[in-house]
Amino acid sequence: MKRLIILGAGTAGTMMANHLRGHLKRTEWEIDIIDEREEHHYQPGYLFLPFDIYKPEDITKPIRDFIPHGVNLINDQIDRIVPQEQFVNMVNGDRLHYDLLIIATGAKIAPEETEGMLGSEWQKSVFDFYTFEGALALRDKLRDWEGGKLVVHITEMPIKCPVAPIEFAFLADSFFKNKQMRDKVEITYVTPLSGAFTKPKATTALQHLLDEKHIHIESDFAIESIDNEQKTIIDYGGRVIPFDLLVTVPTNKGDALMERSGLGDDLNFVPTHKATLQSKDWQNIFVLGDATNIAASKAGSVAHFEAEILTDNILRHIEGEPLKEEFDGHANCFVETGNGKALLIDFNYTHEPVEGTFPLPGIGPLRLLKESRFNHMGKLAFRWIYWNMLLKGTHIPFVSTSMQEAGKNFD
């Protein structure tokens, strides 16, 4: 009996368990999935918690409900991976031998990386919304905040869901309008990038929306520290931005397990081959989702496309066949723009987001890079798709693993 171990039962790990159990013979392969947590969080929902759009119970379910029969869920803490000996050592002293290992341990925030972020104002006037606890603390703050300077801030790239901070700024605009207090709030969007997004066409579209919503942008801001007394953020060039309420996306890092195991880069992301998803250092280790160092978005849609390709590649690896170099960096993200609208972007390693229709070329019904109510409905419907199709590894109709060029207006 051979053993495949999946580390992490989040979006990526759960999808791999569901894909692979259907393909690997139970008499030949044992599949284990390890996660110390008991609840699965729908992470895109964190964006909506602070504005009371989603309630906590909308976005949490037991991990166990999504693990298929025939896959062993081990609910315990991992000490380290020993790739030389093909073992996963558990904190409780157990040593689990693997033939194949899939790393899907994700990314998490590391506010301790920025001086002063975890200071006296943390969760008083300095908040994150990339954790369940952070998003709820911010919700409580926003419920009775009387207004002032709201600063929405990205510490450094890469981050999970790179559009989430700008969505937060758009939703904040709408939230304060609905509370009849938009005139009491000044919103500033602070980014280390040179514009609203990393790719030119999407930057233009998003910049237009920022202007329309009177959201001021401060770009090329590389934060050095937070001054808790003065309530300011300061960058290495000496630029100072004051805030009454700071909503920051701290540095994102891979799991500390990678550092303990000697498998990560300087941010604990695992060096991974960008088209096959095999570890660069170990042939029997594969990596997907937010845990990799590849230059694709850290987003659920990316993990979904990766999971389909990685399933094929793992079956090829077992058969001793060459791996397919097929992952193209495909990402597909809804961007909430407030007031019940959203836009949709679809791109990959080489093609930036452009205007067009999705998923059916020329038909849609979704519009790329244009605001619409239908896109917003798509985003809300996606929560159902996530729980009922995506995690279970069901193919989503019409949405292909590789990015389609048809239906897009490239120059």
């Binding site: 450094e156 790179p162 280390p192 990393t198 590389a222 050095e224 290495y236 060039g237 694709a296």
Partner: protein, 102 residues
């Protein structure tokens, strides 16, 4: 598109970054620095050499990485190239605009 920097014809993209690193030399670097209002000193050149060696190794650059490079800390990097230092220094070094992962 083609343009002339310090009397040397080079190919640049629409943002002014060299599209062919082989066309770079220190005179071109000096010319690009002047356009960014930077007077190059020995420390500037050490940073430029570091960026170029990382580029040749296909190793993506970030502010964090430069801070940990041992060549320069982030504070000094900002003193040397005060405005958007990574982009400015990359342009002077004749390497592509740093791609932020998304």
């Amino acid at each position: 598109m083609e343009r002339t920097i310090s009397g040397i014809a080079v190919q640049v993209n629409e943002e002014g970054y060299l599209t062919d690193f082989k066309q770079w030399n220190s005179e071109v670097g000096k010319g690009l620095a002047e356009e960014a209002n930077i007077t190059m000193g020995p420390r500037h050149w050490e940073v430029i050499e570091y960026l170029q060696s990382e580029f040749k190794n296909d190793s993506p650059l970030s502010i964090r990485k430069i801070g940990k490079s041992g060549v320069v800390d982030i504070k000094e990097f900002y003193q040397l190239f005060p405005i958007a230092p990574l982009k400015t220094a990359s342009k002077i070094a004749g390497i592509p605009k740093p791609a932020s992962c998304i």
